[in-house]
Every structure is written in structure tokens, then in C-alpha cells.
């Protein structure tokens, strides 16, 4: 009896503890912890995948590094938490991660019903299809009746269903839990086609036995996939910090600030826009609740958007020049509001 009373008290106490987790103030939590908890995919080269030293590399991982640099002054103070497509939103909503930077597509349903907010985009993608080169298929419209490997529970799965229905074609989905399994299934012949965001198709093809030369990525792009970091709803200050850090990286590229020349520019900024971004003019950091050198740290330690792209996504064979992911000044659609 006494034991059951003890258990009951414990349950009641844990209920109170659950209630306390719900408080806002992610910034204070991160500062107190001295570490940023970042949810990533962990298995997509170019976006987030561990390197030889076990350090997470990729454009998604770099966003987390930049946030840690801006908030804590040290880009290495990030704990990366690999999440499956299924786990990611629950992990964010429950506070398991502070920010979700896991090639996640911004959609109305997610924005409105999952209790989270999308900030800005670090990569703009679109869904495509990949087939073996020896199949001789040249267009997605030839795929009627095909078996298609897909990662279950993603927008990819929905786009594919819409596209095939719209074109009166039938297909058999073969849904796997992780993108690695979709590749294994595709290589083993469990399906004729692999579908995913085009950047992921390129990344996965580099890991295949036949290599990128043995496959064809079909020309059609069937969806819009704006991917970017996501935060919990109800913490506007934290949302601003994440969004502004990303904007700072993009603005840095636009203004020609790189990790290499930022120290020189800080000593002698000239352009007031540059001065604000390196922290010698104005009180930008203070307004966000951060130190004056927030953007300096992010750019110095992680590099500007262009530098990040070149060492991550470009490496998996997706050139940037003139694509949607280029700056607006160069024909792309990357457009960050001014830091002033």
C-alpha cells in the first residue's frame, strides 16, 4: 500500500515536471546548458552526415554551427541528434531539440497544426525521380506501373501520389524508414525508381555501387521543397535568432564578407552595412538578446552562405551558379532582409 502511494506521488510529481518543460525561453535554456541541441537527418551527404572524424558536416549541420556561434560564441558547442522523418516533429515539440535543421519542407499543414514555426530556407529543392541508367527511361511520364522506393511519412510520398494521380498513372510504393534503406532497396531491385528531393538523389547516387554514372535523374521536378530550420511555436525571440543568423550568413555573402577577410573588415569596415554585420556599429546583437559579436562569430567560424554551400552541397555534385539557390543579385531567389 505504502509503495503504491509512493508510486502515485511520483506520477503526480512527474506530471508537474512535464508541465514545467512547456515554458518558453529557449535562449536561456541554451545559454544555461552551454550547448545547442540540434535535430538533423544524420545520413544525407551534403546536408548532414558525419565525416571521418565523426563531426556532423553539411549545409543543415552548418546552420546549427552558426546558431551555436551566434548564441554561445563557439560553433563547436552543438550536440547533433539524428532524427528520422517520423521522429523529427515530436522531438522538436517535446523539447528534445532546440532547433530542427533536417531538410524539412515548409508546408501549411505543418506550420498550422504541428505547433512549430518555419524560419527561412537554407536550401530550395524540388522532388525528382532516379532510375537505373540501363532501364532506358527518359521521362517520369514513362513510369506508369512502376514500383517506387520512398521514405515513408514525407511530403515526397504525398507529391508522388498527387503526381501519378494527376497523370492517370498507377504505381506501387515501397516505403522505408530511412533514406539509406530506400537506397538499399533501390540497389537491390525492390523497386524500379527511387524518389526524393533532387539534392538527396544526387547525394544518394554517390553512395551507390554503380555510382552517379550508373543512374539517371529524370529531368522533371514535380514539387517545390523549400527546406529550412524549424523552431517551436510560442518562442518568438528564439525564432528571430534562428532566422536572423541564417539571414546574416546570406547577407555576408552579398556584402562579400567571408571567414577569411572578416577580421580585416572588422578593423576597417568602410561600408556601414558591413560594420553592422561585423558588430562595430549599431546594437543588432543586443536587440536579439545576444552579444554584439553574434554575427561576427557565426561568419568567422562557419563562413558565409556561399562558403558553406561550396564545401557541402557542391561536393555532392549540385552546382550553384544561376540556380534558385544563388543570391538574388545573381539570378537566384536567395533574398535576406537587411541587418539594420
Amino acid at each position: 500500500m505504502k509503495l503504491s502511494a509512493k508510486i502515485a506521488t511520483t506520477i503526480a510529481a512527474s506530471a508537474v515536471a512535464v508541465a514545467q518543460v512547456a515554458s518558453a525561453g529557449t535562449l536561456d535554456d541554451v545559454k544555461a546548458r552551454g550547448e545547442l541541441k540540434c535535430g538533423v537527418s544524420g545520413g544525407v551527404p551534403g546536408f548532414s552526415a558525419p565525416d571521418d572524424a565523426g563531426r556532423m558536416q553539411g549545409i543543415d549541420a552548418a546552420v546549427c554551427d552558426a546558431i551555436a556561434a551566434a548564441v554561445l560564441g563557439d560553433a563547436s558547442k552543438v550536440t547533433f541528434i539524428p532524427l528520422t522523418a517520423k521522429e523529427r516533429f515530436t522531438a522538436l515539440a517535446s523539447g528534445e531539440v532546440d532547433v530542427l535543421s533536417r531538410n524539412t519542407t515548409h508546408t501549411l499543414t505543418r506550420e498550422a497544426s504541428l505547433g512549430l514555426n518555419f524560419t527561412y530556407y537554407n536550401y530550395i529543392d524540388g522532388q525528382g525521380f532516379m532510375v537505373m541508367k540501363d532501364s532506358g527511361i527518359k521521362s517520369t511520364l514513362e513510369l506508369d506501373g512502376a514500383s517506387i522506393c520512398v521514405q515513408a511519412g514525407t511530403t515526397t510520398e504525398l507529391n508522388m501520389a498527387d503526381y501519378f494521380r494527376n497523370n492517370n498513372m498507377s504505381f506501387t510504393p515501397v516505403g522505408y524508414e530511412t533514406s539509406t534503406q530506400t537506397r538499399e532497396g533501390f540497389e537491390g531491385g525492390a523497386c524500379d525508381v527511387l524518389t526524393s528531393d533532387k539534392s538527396q538523389l544526387a547525394a544518394l547516387s554517390t553512395e551507390m555501387k554503380v555510382g552517379p554514372e550508373g543512374v539517371t535523374i529524370l529531368p522533371e521536378t514535380i514539387s517545390k521543397e523549400p527546406l529550412g530550420p524549424v523552431v517551436r511555436q510560442g518562442d518568438d525571440q528564439w525564432m528571430d535568432i534562428v532566422a536572423m543568423t541564417l539571414y546574416a550568413l546570406i547577407n555576408a555573402e552579398e556584402l562579400g564578407i567571408t571567414s577569411g577577410n572578416i577580421d580585416k573588415l572588422k578593423a576597417n569596415p568602410g561600408n556601414p552595412n558591413v560594420a553592422r554585420l561585423v558588430g562595430t556599429e549599431g546594437n543588432m546583437g543586443e536587440l536579439l538578446g545576444l552579444g554584439a559579436d553574434w554575427s561576427y562569430n557565426a561568419i568567422k567560424q562557419v563562413g558565409n552562405y556561399g562558403e558553406i554551400y561550396e564545401r557541402t552541397v557542391a561536393k555532392i555534385g549540385i552546382p550553384r551558379a544561376g540556380s534558385v539557390n544563388d543570391l538574388w543579385t545573381r539570378g537566384g531567389i536567395l533574398y535576406a532582409p537587411p541587418i539594420r
Binding site: 500500500m1 503504491s4 502515485a8 506520477i11 512547456a22 504541428l114 511519412g153 516505403g175 532497396g185
Partner: protein
């Protein structure tokens, strides 16, 4: 009486026990209530919508394998997905239970064989499959053995009208062609079976009277297959076979056993059979040697000794632990998502949860389904167990 009533309430052990129990119950109920309330409050505070209104929304994704329900992209709703998931879970569980029981029984019996090689072979089987994690086994069979060794659809292994390839096993499927003929055939089959039941009763009565035995089992089997086929011809062959035909990508038409289902079934069977084999061995060894000797003394043949003495007594020991193995198999089928088989956890607690975000409702329903399946399985087997226990004197 009066003296007892004078004991103050706080020193009355019965009353105190009652108070403490009520208090404990109150704490537990309050604990659960506040957990529930906190969850609801937090969901509201974070703007997460919860409820069952999404059941009737059209599910925006395709399901590849649904043998009994008709799932149609663009028409089927989320709740249909739920039922398709249950159907596929039950399908693999039933297939797995049947196969694991047969294989487990066989391995358990040969484990006790006097032949050294055979019994050691069974031991090796049991120790290997019991001690390797099941998820690893499922992925091993699917990704390391079946997928690389089976050919693409164009180079399928052909066995008459049966085809085997990396997508699965394709078979001809009987389809009713002439429905009146089919009804006549079924009616005649029912009459045939009724006749066999009467025959079996007569044979039993005769055995009890005279001791003369007839091989009822073999006769019935012969009559059902031979007579069934004869009647099929008399009814004018009312079935046609829908044969699988190679299309642009894969076979169309006919029946299909998809590779993910096969891999999962295969792995679950091998794994669970190892445990059932140990139950069978324990059960047989639990029957004392004296029983066998007594049977021999009575002049029973070796076959009859096993059938009438050993097995009925062994079953009492075998069945209770085997129930848990059946329940384990059912629950282990949720590992299917690793190989892309579309059972409940994959399509409902996976895809649907991720598309709607209704974690509370969906996980709750999934838990309830497994709870019901497990309770139903143990109910049926406990009933069977009780029935065979009654034979004890």
C-alpha cells in the same frame, strides 16, 4: 460486540487498511488525471490540434499491398488506412504463427533425436536464431539474402505459371467464372463433408464396439480431394485462373506475395520457431519415462504411445509458454517498417502520424489494437489449454 465498537477508528486495522487503499487509489487516479490534463493543456498552449476529425479525410498517399480491402488513392480515407494496417498486421501474424508452430514442433522433436548429428543440428539452429536480434535478422534476410539473390522481374525464375523475382512471388489466382456452377460446387462440397462427418461417427462407434480401426484421416483426405475435384468437373469447372503477366515493370494480375511480407514472415518464423522448439522439447521431457513404459506394458504401439500418451501430456506444458511466443510474434511484426511491409505501425503510427501530427490519438489506437489482438490470442489459447487440462484425472 460492544467492546469492539469501543476501539477508536484510527486503531482499527480494517478501517485503516480501507483508508490507505482509498488514499492510494485517489493518488493514482489524480496522477493519471493530472498527466492527461497537463498533456491536453500543453497541446493547446503549443497550438497542436488534437482530435479524431481527420479520420474521414482522404488519405493523400498510396498503399501498395492490401489483399482484402480495396484501397484506392484519392478515395480511401485515413480510417481506411487504419483498417488496412490492421489487416496486414493480422495477415503476417497468422501466417507467422502457423509456420512457426509447424517448424518449431519439428525442430523441438528432432532436438530429442537419438541421432547425434540431427539433435546437434537442431541445437545449433535454436542457439543461432534465438540469440541474434530480430531486427537484424529481418534486415539480413531482406537486404543481404533475398534482394541480391533474386532476379529483376524481366529475368524472373519461372515455375509453370508461378514466377519468383525481387518484387515477390507471383501466382495464378482462381476467379469465379460461372457463379451458378460455383454455388452448385460449394453445395455439393458441403454435402460431401456432412457425409464424412457421419462416416467418422459411425467408424468411431464401430471402434468402441469391436475395436476395429479404420484410417479415418486418410480416407477423409482422399475423399475431399478426389471427390472435390470430381464434383468440380461435374459442376462444369466454374473457376478460371487469373495468371500473372509481365508488364513494363512487373507482373500484373494474379496473386502476389510481396517480398517485404515474405522476408518478414520468413524471419519471424525462424526466430519464433527457435523459442517454440525449446517449449516443445521441455514439454516432451516433462512427461515421465514411466508413462512410456506403462504404455508399452499395455501393448500400445510406438505411434499410439506418442499420439495418445506423450503429446497430450506434453501439450499441457507446451501451450502456456507458447502463448507468449504467439503474442511476441504478433508484436514483433511491427519491425516491418525496416523492410517496407505496410502493417499497422508502418502505415498508421508511421505515415499517418507524420502526415497528420495526431500523435496522441494515433498512438493510443495503435496500442489498443495490439492490446486487443494479444488478449484475443491468449483468450483463444487459454480456452484450448483449459480444454486439454480437463483430460487430467
Amino acid at each position: 460486540m460492544t467492546e469492539r465498537a469501543r476501539v477508536p477508528l484510527h486503531r482499527d486495522p480494517k478501517f485503516r487498511a480501507l483508508v490507505f487503499q482509498i488514499l492510494a487509489l485517489g493518488f493514482v487516479v489524480y496522477g493519471f488525471y493530472s498527466l492527461f490534463q497537463t498533456t491536453v493543456d500543453n497541446l493547446v498552449a503549443r497550438g497542436i490540434q488534437t482530435g479524431t476529425s481527420f479520420f474521414d479525410e482522404v488519405a493523400p498517399f498510396q498503399i501498395g499491398f492490401s489483399p482484402f480491402f480495396d484501397y484506392k488513392l484519392g478515395e480511401s480515407t485515413y480510417i481506411d488506412v487504419f483498417f488496412v494496417g490492421i489487416q496486414n498486421t493480422i495477415l503476417v501474424a497468422v501466417l507467422g504463427i502457423i509456420a512457426a508452430t509447424i517448424l518449431g514442433f519439428f525442430i523441438g522433436v528432432i532436438r530429442l533425436s537419438p541421432n547425434w548429428l540431427v539433435s546437434r543440428g537442431a541445437l545449433a539452429y535454436i542457439e543461432i536464431f534465438r540469440n541474434v536480434p530480430l531486427l537484424l535478422q529481418i534486415m539480413f534476410w531482406n537486404f543481404a539474402i533475398f534482394l541480391p539473390s533474386l532476379p529483376a522481374p524481366k529475368n524472373s525464375i519461372e515455375m509453370g505459371s508461378f514466377y519468383l523475382n525481387a518484387r515477390g512471388f507471383h501466382t495464378p489466382l482462381p476467379v469465379v467464372d460461372d457463379s451458378t456452377g460455383f454455388t452448385i460446387w460449394i453445395a455439393m462440397l458441403v454435402i460431401l463433408c456432412a457425409g464424412l462427418v457421419v462416416f467418422a461417427r459411425r467408424a468411431k462407434a464401430r471402434f468402441e464396439e469391436t475395436g476395429e480401426q479404420l484410417p479415418i484421416g486418410w480416407i477423409s483426405l482422399g475423399v475431399i480431394f478426389g471427390g472435390g475435384y470430381l464434383l468440380y468437373l461435374i459442376a462444369g469447372s466454374p473457376l478460371v485462373f487469373d495468371e500473372p503477366v509481365l508488364g513494363r515493370f512487373n507482373f500484373k494480375g494474379g496473386g502476389q506475395l510481396p517480398l517485404p511480407l515474405f522476408s518478414l514472415w520468413f524471419a519471424l518464423t525462424l526466430y519464433t520457431a527457435a523459442f517454440i522448439a525449446e517449449n516443445v522439447r521441455a514439454g516432451i521431457q516433462a512427461v515421465s519415462q514411466g508413462q512410456n513404459e506403462a504404455a508399452h506394458a499395455l501393448g500400445l504401439s510406438r505411434k499410439d504411445t506418442v499420439r495418445l500418451i506423450t503429446i497430450p501430456q506434453a501439450l499441457r506444458v507446451i501451450i502456456p509458454p507458447t502463448i507468449s511466443q504467439y503474442l511476441n510474434l504478433t508484436k514483433n511484426s511491427s519491425l516491418a517498417v525496416a523492410v517496407g511491409y505496410e502493417e499497422l505501425v508502418a502505415v498508421w503510427a508511421g505515415i499517418t502520424l507524420n502526415q497528420t501530427g495526431q500523435a496522441l490519438v494515433i498512438i493510443g489506437m495503435t496500442v489498443a489494437v495490439y492490446e486487443c489482438l494479444s488478449l484475443f490470442t491468449s483468450f483463444v489459447l487459454n480456452w484450448y489449454n483449459k480444454r486439454i487440462q480437463l483430460t487430467e484425472r
